[in-house]
């Protein structure tokens, strides 16, 4: 179970909507661009967004003799995704589950998915510190290949406060915090190039300094990235998401983040 995976990295945040899923997506794309084989596990059961992020909403999970086969981004099999989103009949269906059922589902994701050999498994999580988080911490407790967690925040105090709780959780379950990412830090007006700090600024870096944790970088709001995600299927002729992302300004920021996390280019 998970033995053929070299590194497991979780993406966490106490707050919702700070960009856990978009950070997970970009970390995955960055790793693929460096030449690694990457898997993405989405344990946000009531609001799975990974299928949409990678343009895989029509993907289906198949059962093989070894277990569930994740959905591959393309034939090169460099990037695979597992999410409850693939198992729902209709994209508008809600999953109204209490805790024990969520725990059982996550256990199944860990035990039954046949990932093949992966260099990295990224785990995207829902907001909070509850059933999903306790379940994943329990499942990964004896795994030697867990690198730790990347914690995402936005600059406002309201978000930083929730994120402190998440870091507190990481300490309790022995997840090493690999670093803090400040997302939605400033917006550059396309009309006049003036940068406005919509959700204030500096909160993430101050938090990292305060708690003596590595600061991985701040990511500005870039509407072109959202557009890239939302339009990727229409824009198929412009190249794959991986190639198009390489041209985006954000990819440089994430490449630097990768360096800080010790991700070297494979040759």
């Amino acid at each position: 179970m998970l033995d053929n995976i070299d590194h497991i990295v979780l993406v966490l945040s106490g707050k919702g909507g700070v960009g856990k899923s978009s950070v997970t997506t970009q970390l995955a794309l960055t790793l693929v661009r460096l030449g690694y084989k990457v898997g993405v596990l989405d344990i946000d059961l009531t609001g799975p967004s990974m299928p949409r992020m990678f343009g895989l909403e029509h993907g289906k999970i198949h059962q093989s003799s070894k277990g569930w086969v994740p959905v591959y981004y393309d034939d090169s099999k460099r990037l695979s995704v597992m999410s409850l989103g693939f198992l729902l009949g209709d994209r508008g269906n809600s999953v109204v589950w209490r805790g024990p059922k969520k725990t059982a589902m996550i256990r199944q994701f860990i035990k039954d998915v046949e990932w093949e050999d992966l260099d990295y498994l990224l785990i995207d999580t829902p907001p909070g510190t509850s059933d999903e988080h306790i379940a994943i911490a329990e499942e990964l407790r004896y795994c030697k290949n867990v690198d730790g967690a990347v914690v995402v925040t936005t600059p406002q105090l309201v978000s930083v406060n929730d994120v402190k709780k998440e870091i507190n959780f990481c300490e309790k379950v022995n997840f090493k915090v690999l670093g803090i990412v400040e997302n939605m830090s400033g917006f550059v007006c396309p009309h006049c190039d003036e940068c406005t700090n919509i959700f204030s600024s500096g909160g993430g870096e101050a938090l990292a300094t305060n708690l003596k944790l590595p600061f991985l970088g701040s990511v500005p709001i870039d509407p072109t990235f959202n557009e890239l995600i939302e339009m990727q299927l229409e824009w198929k002729d412009r190249g794959s998401l991986i190639d198009q992302y390489g041209k985006s300004a954000l990819s440089t920021i994430f490449a630097q983040m990768g360096e800080k996390l010790g991700w070297a280019k494979l040759t």
Binding site: S94, T103, K165, C192
Partner: protein
């Protein structure tokens, strides 16, 4: 009484409160069988207490969204400020986000603690006619994490409904966490008999958010909660230096308005992104009072009016 089960429920579990608990096929071999069999059956014995406690509240409102960070708490606080601006109304705000309570900070009362008396827990008063309750008031320090499973969260929600002494209220506004899970099921189940006036659904324009919001609407239908309307937050951003407008979260699939139409629910309007909203939430002040001339204030007050029309 502690009703926590030692092992997770099996897939076809009838539920410990069911008449068939311990007797159905799925119960055979389940480690919980004996406990379930021995638990009291029928409706929750606390229901009459909850009904009695909340009987003096005229209107109960839920603020929901499948997605996190779209502005549920911001909207709850705005709604509370706006309603409390009318001195003839008594308002309560309840924060059901157990793992990430942000309402106390937004209403500027995060360092308060809860006092209990013979009549129950007293809410924390932010203004003369605005009280609020949140788990934040019970934490030993601001950063403590609440690492609780669902069943424990349900217990606290029940206590919030059963033990908080709100007195007579005109409106109780309930802020919820993202998702469709324990907190949502509990609050709708416990308040079913009394009746919730309805839910306000908050979204942002991009499809990734709408995707989760569709699920929340589906949940409301399943749970029998009336949807009062949908509001789109963070709709556009007006640059403070040049006045040019940009769509930060592009509504590539038509945004909230189209979703509302598609689902046949009321569209209450859109609120533009104003960086000062975030700032006033961080400092716990009322954005509506500080910047009465902002287009965002106007949009928010329109939504509040539309909501009141819908309820009264």
């Amino acid at each position: 009484m502690n009703t926590q089960l030692p092992t997770p429920e099996p897939e076809h579990c009838p539920g410990p409160e069911s008449e068939n608990a311990g007797k159905s096929d799925a119960c055979a071999g389940c480690a919980n069988k004996e406990i379930c069999e021995s638990l009291p059956k029928g409706p929750d014995p606390d229901l009459p207490l909850i009904n009695k406690r909340l009987a003096n509240i005229r209107h109960k409102l839920l603020v929901l969204s499948g997605k996190g960070g779209v502005g549920k708490s911001t909207f709850t606080s705005m709604l509370s400020w706006a309603l409390a601006a009318d001195p003839n109304l008594e308002i309560g705000a309840m924060d059901l986000d157990i793992c990430g309570p942000s309402l106390p900070k937004m209403l500027g009362c995060e360092n308060e603690t809860v006092h209990s008396s013979n009549s129950g827990w007293s809410p924390v008063y932010v203004g003369d006619n605005l009280g609020m309750m949140s788990i934040q008031f019970m934490l030993p320090n601001e950063d403590s994490a609440i690492i609780w499973r669902g069943s424990k969260k349900n217990g606290l929600i029940k206590q919030f409904l059963k033990d908080v002494d709100w007195g007579d209220l005109d409106y109780l506004v309930i802020d919820t966490p993202p998702g469709t899970s324990d907190e949502h099921l509990s609050v709708t189940t416990y308040m079913k008999e009394l009746g919730i006036d309805g839910a306000l659904i908050v979204t942002t324009p991009q499809e990734v958010a709408l995707l989760d919001v569709r699920k929340e609407i589906d949940f409301c239908r399943k749970a029998g909660v009336k949807i009062l309307g949908l509001v789109e937050n963070m709709s556009g951003f007006v640059c403070p230096s040049c006045g040019g407008e940009s769509k930060i979260f592009k509504p590539t699939t038509g945004g909230g308005e189209k979703l509302a139409k598609e689902m046949g629910i009321n569209y209450l309007g859109s609120v533009p992104l104003d960086p000062r909203i975030g700032k006033s939430c961080d400092s716990g002040e009322s954005f509506l009072d500080l910047y009465p001339d902002s287009p965002a204030t106007e949009a928010i007050l329109d939504v509040v009016d539309a909501l009141r029309d819908e309820i009264e």
